[in-house]
């Protein structure tokens, strides 16, 4: 993926054509919302001609400015600056209206609250080229996990209520939310050893993506085929990659895992240089035994 605007400053669009020629499959400013609606609209219009996908972060930037939690009783009692879930709905509504206006290809990076789902469903029904994703953390954790200001549980957007989490699991099951991603966000120790609202958001997620997702399978929220679609098939299709499926000519990108193998996660045992995982000390079930990229073993006993 490439930046959507130069230096992700939201002022000028990047060279979407050149970048596409060089292999960029999607364009995004990450969690920085493009505030200028006219510019985002032009990006969508321009990208449409190149069949380029734009990945947006649906969030009203002024409402969510400075927020580190979802507003509600928990955030109020702990005195954490918070934002209403409606900020996501407003951001999504704006982006979807632009898609209707420009007929661009659009993917919402993280849909995390139930209130966003009707707008998403309406856009689909209207035939707009819109998909949506969610992070594994918003599917497996809720706002109370923050507990006593645990900064490894600070995310953008912030963790949501348990009701919202359950609605999101259901939305993945129904296919309204297409993709589950790791939102792998390494942060050094110092950035997390700060008061909650001053700490950097995000968590490493690559290595815990599968075992965390299998929690949803073991709890009965999602089946293995549903997880496969959300984590492999749908993302590959959306990005026009030949991976994510077994077929003639497709690269043999494979993972072998034991869905039942239990283990307790030790963050210092993670292979990532950064150890900021919210699953430190968590009991998990599901272990990767081997990984192949284009037929070559890269991890596990066969590597």
């Amino acid at each position: 993926m490439a930046a959507l605007t130069k230096a992700r400053e939201g002022r000028e669009m990047t060279e979407i054509g050149f970048l596409t020629d060089l292999g960029a499959v999607a364009f995004t400013d990450g969690v920085r919302v493009v505030r200028d609606t006219k510019l985002l609209g032009r990006c969508m219009t321009y990208a449409r001609g190149l069949d380029a996908l734009i990945v947006g972060h649906p969030q009203d930037p002024s409402l969510s400015h400075g927020a580190a939690a979802t507003s509600g009783k928990f955030a109020s009692l702990y005195g954490i600056p918070a934002v209403s879930p409606m900020a996501e709905v407003m951001g999504l509504d704006r982006d979807l209206a632009l898609v209707a206006m420009t007929r661009g290809r659009y993917h919402a990076d993280q849909i995390t609250v139930a209130a966003s789902l009707p707008a998403l469903a309406r856009a689909r029904d209207a035939g707009l080229d819109v998909t949506a994703g969610i992070s594994i953390h918003h599917l497996t954790l809720n706002e109370f996990d923050v507990g006593d200001y645990r900064t490894f549980f600070r995310f953008t957007p912030p963790l949501r209520s348990e009701d919202d989490r359950l609605s999101m699991v259901d939305a993945v099951a129904q296919g309204l939310i297409d993709t589950i991603a790791s939102f792998h966000t390494p942060q050094d120790e110092e950035s997390k050893r700060l008061p909650f609202e001053a700490a950097a958001p995000g968590a490493v997620g690559l290595q815990t993506l599968l075992p965390a997702a299998l929690r949803l399978y073991h709890q009965g929220g999602l089946t293995l085929p549903q997880l496969f679609r959300a984590m492999a098939l749908n993302p590959a299709r959306r990005l026009d990659l030949s991976a994510g499926r077994l077929s003639d000519g497709a690269p043999a990108d494979l993972v072998l895992f034991d869905p039942d193998a239990p283990f307790v996660l030790d963050r210092f045992a993670l292979l990532s240089k950064s150890k900021n995982t919210p699953f430190d000390g968590a009991r998990m079930q599901g272990r990767v035994l081997g990984t192949w990229v284009a037929g070559t073993p890269v991890f596990g006993d066969h590597a």
Partner: protein, 319 residues
């Protein structure tokens, strides 16, 4: 004494009997503080460091006086925002201080939870002197002591907390303490200054101050924290005073013997009329300041006792 905690980080972790024992000990210190010779040796030889990451005159003075009257060596560190960039060096600062072997650390910080974080890193006892919009436990305790002395009890009272609830750690700590002691709490203020989810906290909400003050035993005013505001929470100070400022006419709706409280510093003419604040028959604002020193002495004393007890248990082999 039933107070067993190692730190005083918030009211949330205290049980009602711990609150009562803290207040009971505070009474002894009220008596001591009214003598000519206001001195005890409860903290003799101990070191107390007051570390204020946010400017404060009153609270810092109160803690300083409390420590000195108990015989501690007290040091004030003004770690204002200008010198320390937000929380960046908070843990380093804590570790540096910890190496100087203090016994008691009094901390104020602009971020919620910062004092909890610091308490995890040090060996001494920590008192939260206010963290962000989270808690300010000694303020709630001094308010409770003031109420108990004025009303003769700390239960079954109807208490109105008025003003900027959303940005106030004083309101949060008071809400928790007064709730634990089984009082009826009313929150009064414009909806823009009410925290989200407050309706689930077992309180009554009023946007009409006249309605909210009817028959209450205690009127607790909050400072309109202008410096905390992003801007645009209220249209103007004069409209705020008109709707939510405490004046004689609104106070007349409360119980005839209702007391008026304010944590200070006051904005006269914004949240409270000057004549009400100065009315010695109604206002207990000066008592609150006096109780503040006594409550902080009690808190320092109890934490020091617990610290000595824990060191006694671990210091095997020392002479």
């Amino acid at each position: 004494m039933s107070f067993r905690a190692r730190h005083l980080l918030g009211i949330d972790h205290l049980k009602p009997d711990e609150i009562v024992s803290l207040l009971d000990l505070s009474e002894d210190y009220v008596t001591l503080n009214r003598r000519t010779v206001k001195h005890s040796d409860a903290l003799a030889g101990m070191t107390q460091i007051n570390m204020f990451f946010e400017n404060s005159t009153r609270t810092q003075a109160s803690f300083e006086l409390a420590g000195k009257r108990l015989g501690a060596d007290v040091m004030n560190m003004a770690v204002a925002q200008s010198s320390v960039k937000k929380g960046e060096t908070l843990i380093d600062t804590a570790l540096t201080l910890n190496a100087m072997q203090p016994d008691l650390l009094v901390v104020r910080h602009p971020h919620s939870g910062a004092v909890n974080l610091l308490a995890e890193k040090v060996n001494c006892a920590v008192i939260n002197a206010g963290d962000g919009r989270h808690e300010h436990p000694t303020q709630a305790l001094l308010d409770a002591l003031t109420i108990r002395r004025a009303k003769g009890r700390l239960q079954r009272l109807t208490i109105a907390i008025c003003g900027d609830i959303a940005h106030s750690r004083v309101a949060r700590s008071n809400l928790i303490l007064l709730g634990k002691m089984e009082n009826r709490i009313r929150l009064i203020g414009p909806a823009t200054l009410m925290p989200a989810g407050v309706a689930d906290m077992g309180v009554e909400l009023f946007e009409d101050m006249r309605e909210g003050l009817k028959g209450v035993d205690v009127v607790m005013m909050l400072r309109l924290q202008k410096e905390r505001m992003d801007g645009g929470f209220i249209p103007s100070e004069r409209e705020y005073f008109h709707r939510f400022g405490l004046d004689a006419e609104k106070l007349a709706l409360a119980a005839p013997d209702a007391i008026v409280m304010h944590p200070g510093p006051m904005n006269r003419g914004v949240e409270i009329d000057g004549t009400i604040a100065d009315d010695i028959n109604r206002s207990v604002i000066q008592d609150q300041v006096e109780m503040g020193v006594a409550v902080r002495m009690a808190a320092l004393d109890l934490l020091a006792r617990n610290l000595r007890a824990s060191r006694g248990r671990t210091a095997v082999g020392e002479p």
